[in-house]
């Protein structure tokens, strides 16, 4: 187990290095640079600035310097924001994005498993039909539409009741987190519901479930110990990639709900070609996702003994 974990971590670091390299060269391939602004700079000023930031050096040298800084955990200083280190930006805003993302993942996973199991047990009956209809909606409607609709209904709700039940935007208290994380997790929850339903339907008639019945195990225990635990495996398999989808999807939701997360800085940085911020947020997000995927795989091993030894 330890050996496996170490191996996965080393592979993860290589993945992050690859992400950093690809982003670095991709970013520099885009026409323009952080010094391209509305106001034309005189050639002398431009040359001085390029020298100061090391932009005049060959690309490979810049890459080398960047990697060396990265290895020390230094993401550099923003080009466009006054006197802000990328590390500070991440430290300040990532916890917000992470909280939102993790809440959304929990909501999606718990909801998906429960709804999926429920629809499978009520197969082709009314609860199944209703939930599966909502699931199709959840999968097909993009999150920015759901976010806008969610906000609109919040406004209406607050107007009708005359009090502010839940805040429409912003960040700060638990109440601020509920609607955005529901919106963010919705499509993943819908997807996981479908997945859980089909895997549960397979398990419901599995031989070992029949064995458990023949042993006289009560239905609730068959459900929790025999069916759920086996049906949940495919859901955990896709949870890693789904976390990636949720966290990247968070950018849109953050902007709509005016949440001070990292997503806003990421989008802004790309528009302004703020090299250090692009690199910092991409590499950091990449590392976060790689770590989450490894974590999911380790959890998978805890639930399914068959993957534990490999």
């Amino acid at each position: 187990m330890l050996q496996y974990t170490v191996k996965r971590l080393i592979l993860g670091i290589i993945t992050v290095w690859f992400i950093a390299t690809a982003t670095f060269f991709g970013m520099h391939a885009v026409p323009g640079d952080p010094l391209t602004t509305d106001k034309a700079l005189s050639p002398t000023i431009r040359k001085n600035l390029e020298e100061k930031y090391g932009l005049d050096k060959p690309l490979v040298t810049q890459y080398g310097i960047y990697l060396a800084n990265l290895a020390r955990g230094d993401f550099g200083i923003s080009f466009t924001q006054e006197n802000r280190e990328v590390n500070d930006i991440i430290a300040e805003h990532f916890p917000v994005s992470a909280t939102l993302g993790i809440l959304a993942v929990i909501f999606a996973a718990v909801g998906g498993v429960l709804w999926g199991a429920l629809t499978a047990l009520y197969r082709n009956r009314l609860p199944d039909t209703i939930i599966m209809f909502l699931v199709i909606l959840g999968i097909s409607v993009p999150s920015f539409v759901v976010a806008a609709l969610g906000q609109l209904s919040l406004v209406n709700l607050n107007q009708i009741t005359g009090t502010s039940i839940l805040p429409v935007g912003g960040w700060g208290t638990v109440w601020h987190m509920i609607v955005p994380s529901l919106v963010l997790g919705l499509s993943t929850m819908a997807y996981l519901t479908r997945l859980m339903r089909s895997s549960m339907l397979e398990i419901v008639n599995a031989d070992f479930v029949r064995t458990a019945k023949a042993k006289g195990v009560p239905a609730t225990q068959i459900f929790s110990r025999h069916q759920l635990r086996n049906a949940i495996l495919p859901v955990i398999t896709v949870l890693g990639p789904q976390i990636a989808i949720i966290t990247t999807g968070g950018f849109v939701v953050e902007i709509i709900f005016a949440i001070p997360g990292l997503g806003r800085y990421f989008v802004q940085a790309v528009q302004q070609l703020d090299y250090t911020v692009i690199m910092g947020t991409t590499v950091f997000y990449g590392a976060f996702l790689v770590f989450m995927v490894i974590l999911v795989d380790l959890i998978y091993g805890l639930i399914d003994p068959r993957v534990r030894l490999e």
């Binding site: 019945k213 023949a214 042993k215 006289g216 195990v217 399914d304 003994p305």
Partner: protein, 345 residues
């Protein structure tokens, strides 16, 4: 004979399918004596498994439906019941093992816990006590290093070992009846013999009755006291193992015996199959189900269902050939056409 332990009468089971209603079991009656092995033989789809699954309450409903019948366990009907006088039936008084041990155990639970579960449910044991007992049961099922094995998972076991574990699980609560639904079909021949020996040993030690479902006549010859031959959802012949093998009364039993491969090393003997296929159970034929395939079929066979005709010493057959009105029925225990040696494994 003494009162039977389990007495099944006129069991009928139907299944709703897209093609219509399948009459899987059409009036099955038989008795199981304590401490004896009753074998049910017949080809695939003849209703063997459905019969025992209805006794265990394992028929999925819908689409399955038990339309009539009783299964009296020591005088109490257990069809559709979960308990007798507060005692659980499934897993407690009747244990069951299945055909494919590889898929019949939960892949995410260790073997010991799966055995212990039975004891926790029926005997109210605590977790550690049940697990200790599970280790003993594994030892009883002749699994080496039972203590270590109990902590392992199904994927770490071989097929034969898994079937032993299944047996340990089924006998955990010392049931009076063990139902074995094709217990050796998925195993290779040497392992088959070991599993059958184990079942035999446990039966002698505990005096439990075994209902053995198989389509392997070699297994029947080795294990059974009583034999039921099933065809198209009905019992067509029943009798002691000697009667079935040496004095087969029903043409289907004769056909089955003739279809057994022999050990003849010259290889000159060809297998003689039973021509044709079983009847469509969506629309069971009005007469005898075996009639279209029967070499001895008579006029009456196609039109009227044959009654169960009692022969000597408890043997009976559902066949017009043995009806007293049939002039050829004078010698019901006529010598079979096959050689007696064909029953050897």
């Amino acid at each position: 004979m003494s009162d039977p332990l389990l007495s099944i009468s006129d069991l009928r089971v139907e299944f709703d399918t897209y093609g219509g209603i399948v009459q899987a079991v059409r009036g099955v009656s038989f008795d199981v004596q304590a401490g004896q092995t009753t074998a049910i033989v017949g080809e695939s789809g003849c209703g063997k498994s459905v019969t025992v699954q209805s006794v265990m309450g394992l028929i999925p409903s819908p689409p399955g439906r038990i339309t009539s019948g009783r299964a009296m366990l020591r005088g109490t009907n257990i069809l559709g019941a979960k308990t007798i006088n507060g005692q659980d039936i499934r897993g407690d008084q009747i244990g069951m093992i299945f055909q494919d041990p590889m898929t019949s155990l939960n892949p995410t639970m260790n073997i010991g816990s799966q055995i212990a579960e039975t004891l926790i449910v029926h005997r109210g044991y605590g977790k550690s006590r049940a697990f200790q007992r599970a280790i003993e049961l594994l030892e009883m099922s002749k699994i080496p290093e039972a203590e270590k094995r109990a902590r392992q998972y199904p994927f770490e076991f071989s097929g034969g070992m898994l079937q032993r574990a299944m047996i340990a699980m089924a006998i955990a609560c010392e049931p009076d009846i063990l139902i074995a639904d094709e217990p050796t079909t998925a195993l290779d021949v040497t392992i088959q013999a070991q599993i059958l020996d184990l079942l035999g040993d446990l039966q002698r030690e505990r005096g439990m009755a075994i209902i053995l479902i198989t389509h392997d006549l070699g297994v029947v010859a080795r294990m059974a006291d009583e034999v039921l031959v099933m065809y198209a959802g009905q019992i067509v012949e029943q009798g002691s193992v000697d009667q079935i093998f040496y004095h087969s009364a029903h043409p289907y039993t004769l056909g089955l015996r003739a279809a057994m491969p022999t050990n003849d090393p010259s290889g000159s003997k060809r297998l003689s199959p039973i021509d044709g296929s079983p009847p469509d159970l969506f629309n069971p034929p009005p007469g005898c189900g075996y009639c279209p395939r029967c070499p001895q079929a008579m006029k009456i066979c196609a039109g009227e269902p044959p009654p169960v005709i009692a022969l000597d010493q408890g043997q009976s057959a559902r066949c017009w050939l043995h009806h007293p009105d049939n002039p050829a029925a004078a010698k019901p225990n006529q010598a079979p056409t096959g050689q007696p040696g064909a029953m050897d494994e």
